[in-house]
Homo-oligomer: 483 residues x 2
Amino acid sequence: MLNFFPIHIDKKSKSPIYQQLGDALHDLIEQEILKPNMKLPPIRTFAEHLKINNVTVVNAYKYLENKGVVYSQMGSGTYVSPLPIKETPSSIFLEQLDSNEKDLTTPEQNTINFVTLSPPTDLFPVDDFKALFNTVLERDKGNAFNYQESQGYLPLRESVCDYLHHYGIQTSPDKIQIISGAQQGIDILSKALLRYGDILFVESPTYHGAIAAFQSRGGRIIEIPIEKDGMDLKVLENYMKLYHPKFIYVMTYFQNPTGISYSVDKKRALLNLAEQYDTYIIEDDYLSDFTYSSRPIVSLKALDHRNRVIYIKSFSKILMPGLRLGFLVLPKSILQSVLSAKHTSDISTSGIIQRTFDLYLRSDLWKKHSKDMQNIYKDRYACLLTEIENLLLEYVSYIPPEGGLSIWLQLKDHYSIEEICNRLLSYGVIVSPGSLFSFNTSTLPYIRISFATVDNEHIKKGIQIFYDVLKEYQENNKKGLSH
Amino acid sequence: MLNFFPIHIDKKSKSPIYQQLGDALHDLIEQEILKPNMKLPPIRTFAEHLKINNVTVVNAYKYLENKGVVYSQMGSGTYVSPLPIKETPSSIFLEQLDSNEKDLTTPEQNTINFVTLSPPTDLFPVDDFKALFNTVLERDKGNAFNYQESQGYLPLRESVCDYLHHYGIQTSPDKIQIISGAQQGIDILSKALLRYGDILFVESPTYHGAIAAFQSRGGRIIEIPIEKDGMDLKVLENYMKLYHPKFIYVMTYFQNPTGISYSVDKKRALLNLAEQYDTYIIEDDYLSDFTYSSRPIVSLKALDHRNRVIYIKSFSKILMPGLRLGFLVLPKSILQSVLSAKHTSDISTSGIIQRTFDLYLRSDLWKKHSKDMQNIYKDRYACLLTEIENLLLEYVSYIPPEGGLSIWLQLKDHYSIEEICNRLLSYGVIVSPGSLFSFNTSTLPYIRISFATVDNEHIKKGIQIFYDVLKEYQENNKKGLSH
């Protein structure tokens, strides 16, 4: 293998030899001649081969390690990093679009937003919250604005346990950590569990906000492909043996972006693997409340008898994203480190929000709202499916999800997703390109269509535009080919 | 120097030689025979001396580096880390005490709390906020609960600029980042600016919450001693040359815990050094509003014409800690990376809190409240100083701060601070021991007395108990010596 490395060392050059060697290897890595997780040559052999000193090779590897391009495993060797740690500006751009779009004072009236996963503001239970705010302030006065326990307001942790009981999750308030939204949950778990260079597994494709948080802690991310009923277990098991990850991040219901849900068998297999290889599973339950089938929801956490599952729940998608509220259910073993990570992150979540939400959860308002939202979304979901069936089947394929707020459309391989997205945009339709949900492939022949803020009228209009764009694209493509 | 290292390598042992060597060095570091920032022997010399292979020494150093015990600088060598990265459970315990004490349903009525820096709940402007909450919900409805721009609600960023204008800071809304409290500000700045192993400077002693956040990002912290008018510039300049830190974290007014403020000369010198060595200064303005002298407040940021200062402001101490609201003023060069760090941390700060606070800041309520609080605290400050002058001068010395909420008492060197704190606790008086504000000395002969929640009656009672405890301690000590 060594003979294939086109490395030239110039001993007369002014740059130190370790740096010349490091830069040459870096080039090979960037050109993907040296591939992710490939082992670099052993130090002594490589040094002999290049006729340089052992320590120079060590320094070259070290130089690359400082750049994050390779990693070393004690007693085993040095390997090419699974990814160059890089910024992800495009995802931030799109999330911004997602966040801001409702907040503009002069929104583009004609935009059809198939990107956002949050409910439209006119469906927020604002009046209920207003009344409860006032109740809390009457009752608690200044205490509502004081520091709260970092772990969270105790009565809220109690009502969260009651809520979970309905989903078959038995836990106690001492295992609940209140968080300022799911993104913070992911962030503080990264802080508590990851040390720089640690390996973790995610589904491929997955939620870009999680990738960004893991990357920002220096986590090395390995993607495990998913099938229609969950992670590919063969790949997973092979990789578990190789890497012993710190944790596996999954969405078991209506996975973002694919919409798939895990089978019971795969859930059990995942739990067994976690036990066997002594790792944790982070289960991000961002949306299981919106199921449109009659099958009961059974989270991984509900099946977790060996304390392997860390459960994240947020209320952004069900209730209102601006609440910035959610919770974690934690194995006892990591309670203290998560509490400490929460404390250094923002000390505690807003007391007035926690207290108001506690009253909301204890009232019947919550159940009613959740049911109402489910009905509205079920109707939109049916409408979207019908429109896709009627118009798009010539161009796309997909697996109908059993719930959630989006559909993951696979387009024909040779389509340029970027070009299609741009054309849609020119007609005022915004969608999420597949590339947003993976960090090491710049193209995935998919588009995610979310209907959280789009009513049936606009779903019909939007899919009609989608059809027109695809048809025109295909015709131009054919013309291009025939020339 | 090598001859003094008592290192024994057993080539017949089952543990690898690199590990034996690493463990032996680790012991020497723990015993402080090898001191922080001391250079380890050069690889080849050391290997010859120990009659082992170069690569074994390299592996031993690497093994220690993975543990965070040493760090390496390319082309220069390997050095003992300024600190072993360790958990700080004691500080978390005390902060918890601080946070929870108001929230207990059955507080110990007789406790005199000289620890907390937050105002008592009965001084919170709850009614004003309640009225404004309702105004916001009437006006903005669902928008108040939607995602907000990650950078912060624009009208609030505008009113923050007006507020800053009164303090001589000229900036614009595009340079403001809204944060969920100062702790989050420190955390996201760490995320945006630090890479694992980067060096940063702090004042010694300093705020333990900042240390915890920097440590959690793998930052290597160097402490710069402070004098009565700011950092020791000689030490600072020497260390700047050596380390080129990513940033310097300072509190220019009523520093926590010492209470000192920077002279104008030191502020200018600090800015010049930042320019010369191309680094940033994080100025944590947690309390400058509470000044009791007639001298105007001139922040580092107001003097910063070369965009070296990152300014953090929170309203926890002035208004209500449970608001979880503050802001950063940022140099343009780091706007994007801070925004991205905020986004991966919690997407955005609560919209309803931002909107309500915006109205508060625009009204005259803010000015009135801030003035009222200042008067209350000025009175308590005078009372505390008088009591200390009357009773404690035999046992303690201190520099009277020009503002803030605490006094930093230096006790005689041979006093056991731990024992004194425990005795005070047994009489129901809690104080902050000096050791809490440094991470590499377990004893600092200081105690911080804060009067934020203690009225004059309890200040008098508390200092009387302090006097009794010190007197008794000294008498016992004398008896002990005479035996």
